[in-house]
């Protein structure tokens, strides 16, 4: 009754709010089961939660013996808030903008405010689940820290939920404000670029906090510094200290900042923008701005690439379709751009640490030197995952009725598009960055080696494809699951380090090895077309329509 009264006071229809919430939660947990070709009974959301739990246990177990409760809270909260922000950025398209909602709810008598708070409520529920998976075990492990108390797990968990909700809400606030300020097609463009910035910035902060606090590990002195006042995770870590009864001025001040910022975020900002939210959403849906910025030069270049590498109609169709999907499909576009933020941030961090080291000078002394390269595997893997989904996934019926002799060739076209339009430009940027740190020829040779290795990885990963591209509906948790799967590319990363170690010694050896790797790529690519053909055909046969 009380909740009902409060909701009525702020202009929200309690009954509508309740049923919108329950339907959205049902949708989140059920959606994957009804989808074409989906065999797993466990939702991607559950997989992500298991993965985050495992990661946080490892992190907490490593930190607990060498930290104070404040530093421990700071580092774990930094980790969880960064993960949360990344999840909301990656899942934004299924969390805030829902085309299903617009189709089904736009003509129902739901006020903008009720609708917005229902979406926000759904997001916070999701945040609660994810925070629990990230912070539950660290909160228990926190008891073992010197000077901790039995109250710590409770306080830590409660504050972590609030901190993560504030982090998620911050992203929502930025995005919805953008939605309000920028209209239609421009919004879609800006949001794609904003994803790169957000990811970049988040990773940067995530890497900076441990570096700034490194000297305090295994030390009796408590962490301090003005930077704490500018670090959101430190505000909430300070709040935990305050709740634990530590009344030093720094914790009181940090607690005040945490409380004020959370209050401002939840109550003032959202209240201001929620009234017009649904209108913005429907405006986004009906936006019909038509643009064709494809220049004649581009069209010519596109034709020549297709002419050189693809001499089959299926491959050309795959190439052309994927170009358009990456340009026009909002979900794919946003996912693709977000991928660039992470490697760029890690490269910058590596440069700030010790600089990019010359791979021709022997074993790298810093493991982070490999991170930029490692993320190339992540990108390739992510692109191949990205192309499984589309807003217009239902249009994939065309693949099943068209006389396609080789589905693998469609993927060949798509792989060429991914490599020529995303991976190569990234390598060029990376090569330029490397050339500022190491000799130009070394940078060039290194990039060439990694590029060929990337090609091998691209063909290898595509061996596991079993469905037509753009044929699945996006589901909540799928993209954060991808974030988790990234870590399983690690064996390839190790392999690359060893290959580099042995072939960078002399030029001729490198050239022979590079040629051998290229031949391996051609073999794998030929094989992948056959394997994809077989897998897709048998998958279609096993499906019930």
């Amino acid at each position: 009754m009380m909740a009902k009264g409060i909701f009525r006071f702020i202009g929200i229809d309690w009954n509508q709010f309740k049923c919108l919430m329950s339907v959205s939660i049902k949708n989140d947990f059920r959606r994957h089961r009804g989808m074409a070709g989906r065999s797993s009974k466990i939702s991607p959301m559950v997989w992500s939660m298991i993965f985050y739990s495992m990661m946080s246990i490892a992190l907490a177990a490593g930190l607990a013996p060498v930290t104070t409760t404040f530093l421990y809270s700071l580092l774990i909260l930094s980790y969880s808030m960064v993960i949360m922000v990344l999840i909301v950025i990656l899942e934004f398209s299924t969390t805030i903008i829902s085309s299903d909602d617009s189709d089904i709810l736009a003509y129902r008598p739901i006020s903008s405010r009720t609708y917005f708070f229902a979406r926000l409520g759904n997001l916070l529920f999701y945040v609660f689940l994810m925070t629990s998976s990230i912070c539950f075990f660290p909160s228990i492990i926190g008891i073992t820290i010197k000077g901790s108390s039995w109250l710590f797990p409770f306080l830590f968990l409660i504050v972590a939920v609030v901190a993560n909700a504030a982090a998620a809400s911050f992203v929502v606030l930025i995005y919805t404000t953008l939605m309000k300020v920028v209209r239609g097609e421009k919004f879609k463009d800006i949001i794609a670029y904003a994803q790169v910035f957000f990811t970049f910035f988040t990773i940067l902060i995530y890497q900076l906090v441990p570096r700034l606090s490194q000297k305090y590990l295994s030390s009796d002195s408590e962490i301090s510094g003005k930077w704490l006042y500018a670090t959101p995770s430190a505000w909430f870590a300070g709040f935990i200290q305050f709740l634990l009864g530590r009344d030093e001025s720094i914790y009181i001040l940090l607690s005040i900042i945490a409380a004020v910022s959370t209050f401002l975020l939840f109550f003032i900002s959202f209240r201001r923008i929620s009234m017009q939210y649904a209108d913005r959403l429907s405006a986004l849906q009906v936006s019909s701005e038509k643009r064709d910025r494809t220049s004649k030069i581009f069209k010519k270049r596109k034709k020549s690439i297709a002419f050189i590498f693809l001499n089959r109609p299926e491959a050309e169709a795959g190439y052309e379709l994927s170009i358009q999907m990456f340009k026009r499909d909002r979900l794919i576009k946003m996912g693709a751009y977000a991928l660039f933020g992470m490697p760029l941030a890690f490269i910058l961090i590596t440069m700030m640490d010790r600089g990019l080291e010359d791979p021709f000078a022997g074993w790298f002394s810093s493991p982070t030197s490999y991170l930029g390269v490692f993320f190339i595997f992540f990108m390739i893997y992510s692109f191949l995952t990205l192309i499984r989904y589309a807003t217009d996934w239902e249009a994939s019926w065309i693949f099943r009725v068209a006389p396609i002799t080789s589905p693998g060739l469609i993927y060949r076209g798509i792989k060429l598009m991914i490599f020529s339009r995303f991976v190569i430009p990234f390598f060029v940027v990376l090569g330029v960055i490397y050339s500022t740190q190491i000799p130009l020829m070394h940078a060039l040779r290194h990039m060439l080696t990694v590029a060929v290795f990337g090609l091998i990885f691209l063909s290898f990963t595509s061996l596991f494809i079993k469905e037509y591209p753009f044929s699945r509906k996006r589901e909540r948790g799928e993209r954060s699951q991808r974030l988790a799967v990234m870590f399983f590319s690690f064996p390839f990363f190790i392999l690359l380090i060893f290959v580099q170690r042995f072939i960078y010694g002399n030029f001729l050896g490198w050239l022979i090895m590079l040629t051998a790797m290229f031949v391996l790529f051609i073999i794998l690519e030929t094989l992948s077309v056959k394997v994809i053909d077989r897998r897709i055909k048998s998958h279609l046969l096993s499906r019930s329509f």
């Binding site: 009954n15 049902k26 009804g34 736009a106 008598p109 739901i110 701005e289």
Partner: protein
């Protein structure tokens, strides 16, 4: 019941609906026809308060679509062309959800669900997820969701799409009965035989402007054509469609592939 005055909607430079003015009284089934891109769906989206007009006004069930959009939405039902539903829900869950959105009590929702499922033959599928449904079955749920709250005005965009012949017949009879009971039905379709059959009045829109308005008989008389199909072609196409078809056939049968 529905009153439009100079209703206009622009998308950038494109004028999708251009100063449309008409009235649909209570108890009338009004067919709203036009070629693709003529402005039918845009008109309906404005009348259902999904998008605001660029200029002009409209009143639905006594409420202004701009000033009282929530009141309008409470009194209307809409069957969208997309036929979108939350496919991971069952028909029972979905219709309960829609009923609660309209503030109906649980007993009434249950009763209506039973009635609609009986009517559409969905009893056996009531607790089955709609992701497993055919297009026609989903369409039945969409139609039920548009009527569950007993609206005064029902907007329908291709409502027969995907329905089997028997359901289509019974739905057409239901629409007639609803109109006789005082409900206003705004019916958009490309199936001209159906429109001719069930609509009291037909409005034809082309390039955003109304080009004809009247009963089927009146329109036939006005254009001196024998069928609504001929009337429609006469008013919305400047070419001889038979000749266009013959020329096209000639073109596509020349070579299978180039």
């Amino acid at each position: 019941m529905i009153e439009l005055v100079n209703l206009t909607r622009n998308f950038g430079d494109l004028v999708a609906v251009d100063g449309v003015t008409f009235e649909v009284p209570k108890g009338q089934i009004c067919g709203y026809l036009g070629p693709n891109g003529a402005g039918k769906t845009t008109t309906v989206k404005m009348l259902t308060c999904m998008i605001p007009p660029t200029s002009g006004t409209a009143v639905v069930s006594g409420f202004d679509i701009l000033k009282n959009s929530l009141e309008v939405k409470r009194l209307i039902g809409y069957v969208p062309e997309s036929g979108a539903v939350y496919q991971s829900l069952t028909p029972h869950e979905y219709l309960s959800f829609v009923g609660r959105i309209y503030g109906m009590n649980r007993d009434l929702i249950e009763r209506r669900i039973d009635e609609f499922c009986e009517f559409f033959g969905l009893k056996d599928n009531l607790h089955q997820r709609m992701s497993e449904f055919s297009r026609g079955m989903k369409q039945k749920v969409v139609i039920a969701s548009a009527m569950i709250h007993n609206p005064d005005v029902i907007f329908m965009d291709e409502p027969l799409s995907g329905l089997d012949a028997n359901t289509a017949v019974v739905l057409k009879k239901l629409l007639r009965n609803l109109a006789d009971a005082g409900k206003t039905i705004f019916y958009c379709s490309h199936i001209l035989e159906v429109v001719e059959n069930i609509c009291d009045r037909v409005i034809i829109i082309n390039k955003g402007k109304i080009v004809a308005d009247g009963s089927v008989g009146k329109l036939k008389e006005m254009t001196r054509r024998s069928t609504l199909e001929d009337v429609f072609s006469e008013l919305t196409s400047s070419e001889d469609l038979g000749e266009v078809a013959r020329a096209f056939l000639k073109s596509i049968t020349q070579d299978r592939t180039e």
